[in-house]
């Protein structure tokens, strides 16, 4: 784990992070926040509370669905999974993010 202060997930990138996380396997809200932190080597810190409005929005848009399930330690939790539409949206979002990052990179490299 990095000793540096984690970066707050950029505004607008939260949906992408959630979709990407869920593309690996279905999980609950806390699991998503943990997985984001793990996958970014602790660089990204998802604002835990604001994760849920984002999940609700994505579900309303039909990109994810949810169901109650039981965790390893036998607790009731709401599991989220990606829908086909969500998978398509993830591809599009990733594509546009890459273009955005590349463009930003070019701008920042310009001396």
């Amino acid at each position: 784990m990095s000793a540096r202060q984690p970066i707050e997930a950029f505004r607008g990138s939260l949906d992408l992070l959630v979709l990407k996380t869920l593309s690996l396997s279905p999980t609950h809200g806390w699991g998503i926040s943990q997985r984001v932190r793990q996958m970014s080597n602790g660089e990204f810190e998802v604002n835990q509370g604001s994760l849920y409005p984002a999940l609700q929005r994505l579900e309303k848009d039909g990109l994810i669905t949810s169901d109650w399930g039981v965790t390893d330690n036998n607790r009731q939790a709401r599991y989220y999974r990606l829908t086909a539409a969500g998978r398509r949206a993830l591809d599009q979002e990733m594509e546009s993010w890459k273009r955005f990052a590349a463009a930003l990179d070019i701008v920042l490299r310009t001396s």
Partner: protein, 927 residues
């Protein structure tokens, strides 16, 4: 799929508000617990510390919860529920507005919805049968006379052979017949003689036995009958062994083969069905009157069927020019009177005007209420409520009031329509089966629409006005004790109209009540309770009979009935007329009377012309009622001959004649009715073969009648001013055809007995006695004459009560309007009143300043309404002549002004007291 998923989720979230809330709380809790556990394991923290950090990392739980609620789109829902609660609270907080405004809206919405329901049922009904909308009637119209032509047996055979778009084409005709089962009393029921095809077209199976089959209508087939449910219950107490029983229907016998389900009264209002046998061929226009019914073939529209029928009709017109040149058959849904929906909508327009007036008047009250709530509205605006939000809130409040009113109005309309339909059905039994009590779904939807429109009219304008001024202005005025809202021109105008309506309404209601009282006050010149009157029905003539033979049979039957009844103990006389004295009905006609040549009137050209009521009596009628002849002679037996042309008039007629013809007597004068083309007779004479129109459709010239006598007024038919109406009596032999439409139809039997108890006894036994003479005769509605008069009075009393009720309501609304006006005025002028009080103004002057506007408004409205009313009366719109009506209505208006002034002062008491209690120190503090 995405859209579907999304829609499903939205719906689930919207309607499962509580579930969503609990799910959110559980998720939050799970998250915090997991985070707490993780922190405890990773950092070895104590549970409390770990939980504190977990909560901190999660952020404000309530903030996130609120964001999620907003995201669910439920914010407006909670706002709506708040508005609804507020609306309900407003109903309680302003009880007078709730009662008067609610009643006004209830009356208006009730009338609107009730009228819509009735018009729908009567003019464009939905037939409550399987696929009832595919049932059709074929009606033939004579385009020259504009009369229906029902002698269509010949055409029916053509249609059956040629029409491809209509199936199960059949015919029926109805008649009232006595059903006799064993020794039980006769039951006069409506029987339909119907072909098996027409019976099948209903597509309703019997609940017992079988329906009519083609085999039943073949010549020589055993006579059968299918009974209706009610008849089966009455005659057989619902026993299944009724099947196979032989019953008597009129003079014919038939075997019961089936029982139809409850409420089945197809084709119109029939309760038993017998097969209708038609021959294999008919000459054009041969045979009796038939109604034709059938079903559209699958996939065929009304228009297609109509088009095919028109082609066949045109072919018949070309092939049979002598009889069919002007006959045009067409396809119609059964019972349909208006086939143009636009026209149907137009019938609702005048009623909607009532609603608009009610909305305007209640709108004034709502506006005033809004004015008193300015401060609240300003505060809400200041706290961030948008204009739309406030307008929405006021709309929902009005909607609550309108919904409560609509519920009351719909309930009242439903009860009233049910009562109306049931009483018509009870008295005449002629209500078609598709006109059933209970409001239709479309009426409910219509009423809901009216309610929303009402709420919009009531609230949107006041709300827009109330929210127009800036927040600062409102708050500033609130601080200084004044008000921003004022009664502008629109509202003052609306109130003026309202007061004017009251000024018109009160005298009209007074006059209506007075007229009704006069009409209800009968001074019968004959013993009403000793005469039993009943409607007498004869089976219609058989097809094989000539009109003359039919007439002979009917007169013979009636003569036999007369003889039989005279034998009854206590019966003093038996006679007939087309109208029960003092009851409903009677033919109102316009007549011209020329005085006898050389009579006392002198001037040869002087003639009397007026409208009067014509009634056809048996020659012995007047004598049977002990009515004295005051001049000339009464009817004699020979006057029953239609060629005799002798008529007797009543004293009221003689008085009116004397007034118009300079004091002469009508005896010996000649009377002729205005052409029947302009004054249609209320009786239909197609069944007896006599018509007042000639074959080519032109109205015939009315014959002259000679006035031979004047009879004492019966005293049971007063007009609006309480005087007996002019009557002309014609003599006719009951059952015989008359000339010039003067046939005794409908036929009403009158039995004079010794006293009241004897009358009750004979009324109860009459059906059995009549059927005992001949089963082809039946009676209904047997009761003493005073009961017939009571029946008429019931409707009149209801009408008067309704008029008085509506007027009282309008008066209440006007008073409330004045109250609102003065209230608003006082709250607007608090500071000014305080200032004047501080400067030593006398309370009387302060009051005069406050009340002057109310008095001016009341006076202005009353003057406008009164002026309009008097002008209308002066131009002859009153009940009598302008010369007598103008002073009468001026007197009414005087009383009206007093009532309205009293209402105005009563309405002003509260606000005036409030104004006088204003403390100058308080009022001046904020200056």
């Amino acid at each position: 799929m995405t859209l579907l998923d999304s829609a499903r989720t939205r719906l689930r979230l919207l309607f499962a508000r509580r579930a969503a809330e609990s799910r959110m709380r559980n998720e939050f809790q799970f998250h915090i617990e997991m985070e707490t556990d993780a922190l405890m394991h990773a950092h070895g923290l104590a549970r409390d510390e770990a939980r504190r950090r977990a909560l901190a990392a999660f952020g404000g739980v309530e903030t996130h919860a609120e964001t999620m609620r907003d995201g669910r789109g439920l914010a407006w829902l909670s706002g709506l529920s708040l508005d609804l609660k507020l609306g309900a609270r407003m109903l309680v907080k302003y009880p007078m507005l709730t009662i008067a405004g609610g009643l006004a809206l209830a009356v208006a919405i009730g009338i609107g919805a009730g009228w819509y329901d009735l018009m729908g049922k009567v003019l464009a009904p939905t037939i409550p049968l399987p696929q009832g909308e595919r049932l059709v009637a074929i009606e033939t119209q004579n385009i020259l006379t504009n009369e229906p032509e029902a002698r269509v047996a010949h055409d029916l055979l053509d249609w059956r052979r040629d029409l491809r778009t209509i199936q199960e084409i059949g015919a029926w005709r109805g008649a009232r017949r006595n059903l006799l089962v064993g020794r039980a009393a006769p039951d006069a029921i409506q029987v339909a003689e119907i072909t098996a095809a027409a019976f099948r077209a209903a597509q309703v199976p019997p609940i017992l036995g079988r329906g009519l089959l083609d085999a039943d209508e073949r010549p020589g087939a055993p006579p059968v009958v299918v009974l209706g449910y009610d008849v089966w219950q009455r005659a057989f107490s619902g026993r299944p062994d009724a099947l196979g029983t032989t019953v008597q229907l009129g003079n014919a016998t038939a075997t019961v083969i089936g029982v139809m389900p409850e409420d089945f009264a197809y084709p119109v209002n029939h309760h038993a069905w017998t097969p209708l046998s038609l021959r294999a061929s008919y000459a054009p226009l041969e045979g009796g009157a038939l109604s034709i019914i059938g079903r559209l073939a699958p996939g065929v529209t009304h228009a297609q069927a109509d088009a095919e029928l028109r082609v066949i009709g045109e072919r018949a017109s070309a092939a049979l020019p002598a009889t069919h040149a002007h006959l045009r058959p067409r396809v119609l849904p059964p019972g349909l009177l208006i086939d143009d929906l636009g026209q149907l909508a137009m019938t609702n327009l005048p009623v909607l005007l009532v609603l608009l007036i009610a909305c305007t008047t209640v709108g004034t009250l709502i506006y005033a209420r809004t004015a008193t709530r300015e401060g609240e509205i300003a505060l809400r605006s200041a706290l961030g409520a948008s204009r739309a939000r406030i307008v929405g809130q006021l709309f929902v409040e009005a909607l609550v009031l309108a919904t409560v009113a609509a519920a009351v109005g719909l309930f009242a309309a439903d009860r009233l329509l049910t009562w109306g339909i049931e009483s018509v059905d009870r008295s005449s039994g002629d209500v078609p089966f598709w006109i059933t009590p209970g409001l239709t779904v479309s009426t409910m939807v219509y009423a809901a629409g009216l309610t929303i429109v009402c709420a919009g009219l009531l609230s949107v304008l006041p709300a827009l006005r109330a929210t127009r001024a800036g927040v600062q202005t409102h708050l500033a005025n609130r601080g200084s004790g004044g008000a921003t809202l004022r009664f502008g021109r629109v509202w003052t105008g609306a109130m003026l109209v309202q007061v004017a309506l009251t000024a018109i309404g009160i005298p009209v209601a007074m006059q209506g009540a007075l007229e009704a009282t006069r009409k209800l006050h009968v001074r019968a010149a004959f013993p009403m309770q000793d005469i039993v009157a009943a409607q007498l029905d004869l089976e219609p003539r058989f097809e094989e009979e000539t009109p003359a033979a039919s007439e002979a049979r009917q007169t013979k039957l009636i003569a036999a009935l007369e003889r039989r009844l005279t034998e009854e103990p206590g019966v003093m006389a038996v006679t007939f007329a087309d109208r029960v004295p003092g009851g409903l009905g009677g033919r109102r006609r316009v007549a011209r009377v020329e005085p006898a040549a050389g009579g006392s009137t002198g001037a040869a050209g002087t003639a009397y012309e007026d409208d009067l009521i014509a009634s056809v009596l048996a020659p012995g009628f007047l004598a049977a009622l002990d009515l004295p002849i005051v001049a000339g002679r009464g009817f004699e037996a020979r006057d029953g001959d239609p060629r005799a042309r002798a008529i007797v008039v009543n004293e009221a007629f003689a008085r009116a004649f004397s007034r118009q013809a300079s004091g002469g007597s009508p005896i010996g004068g000649r009377l002729r009715y205005a052409s029947s083309g302009s004054n249609s007779s209320s009786s239909s004479s197609s069944g007896s073969g006599s018509t007042s129109s000639s074959a080519n459709g032109e109205a015939s010239v009315e014959p002259w009648y000679e006035i031979v006598g004047i009879v004492r007024d019966l005293g049971v038919d007063p007009d609006d001013v309480g005087e007996e109406q002019p009557f002309v009596f014609h003599a006719a032999t009951p059952g015989a055809a008359g000339i010039g439409g003067m046939t005794m139809s409908p036929l009403r039997l009158h039995v004079r007995v010794q006293d009241g108890p004897a009358a009750q006894a004979i009324a109860a036994r009459l059906p059995a006695i009549v059927a005992g003479v001949d089963a082809a005769l039946s009676v209904r509605g047997a009761q003493p004459v005073d009961a017939w008069i009571r029946d008429r009075h019931e409707g009149l009393a209801l009408q008067t009560a309704a008029l008085a009720g509506v007027t009282l309501l309008v008066l209440c609304l006007s008073a409330l309007g004045i109250f609102s006006l003065v209230s608003v005025s006082v709250s607007r002028r608090t500071r000014e009143i305080g200032l004047r009080a501080a400067l030593g103004a006398h309370p009387r002057h302060v009051l005069a300043g406050i009340l002057s506007r109310a008095i001016v408004l009341m006076g202005g409205g009353a003057a406008a309404g009164g002026g309009l009313l008097l002008t209308a009366v002066a131009f002859g719109a009153g009940p009598s002549t302008p010369a007598s009506d103008v002073p009468l209505f001026a007197g009414y208006l005087g009383m009206t002004s007093l009532i309205m002034l009293a209402a105005c002062l009563l309405a002003c008491i509260g606000p005036a007291r409030r104004a006088l209690r204003i403390n100058p120190i308080d009022a001046l503090r904020d200056i």
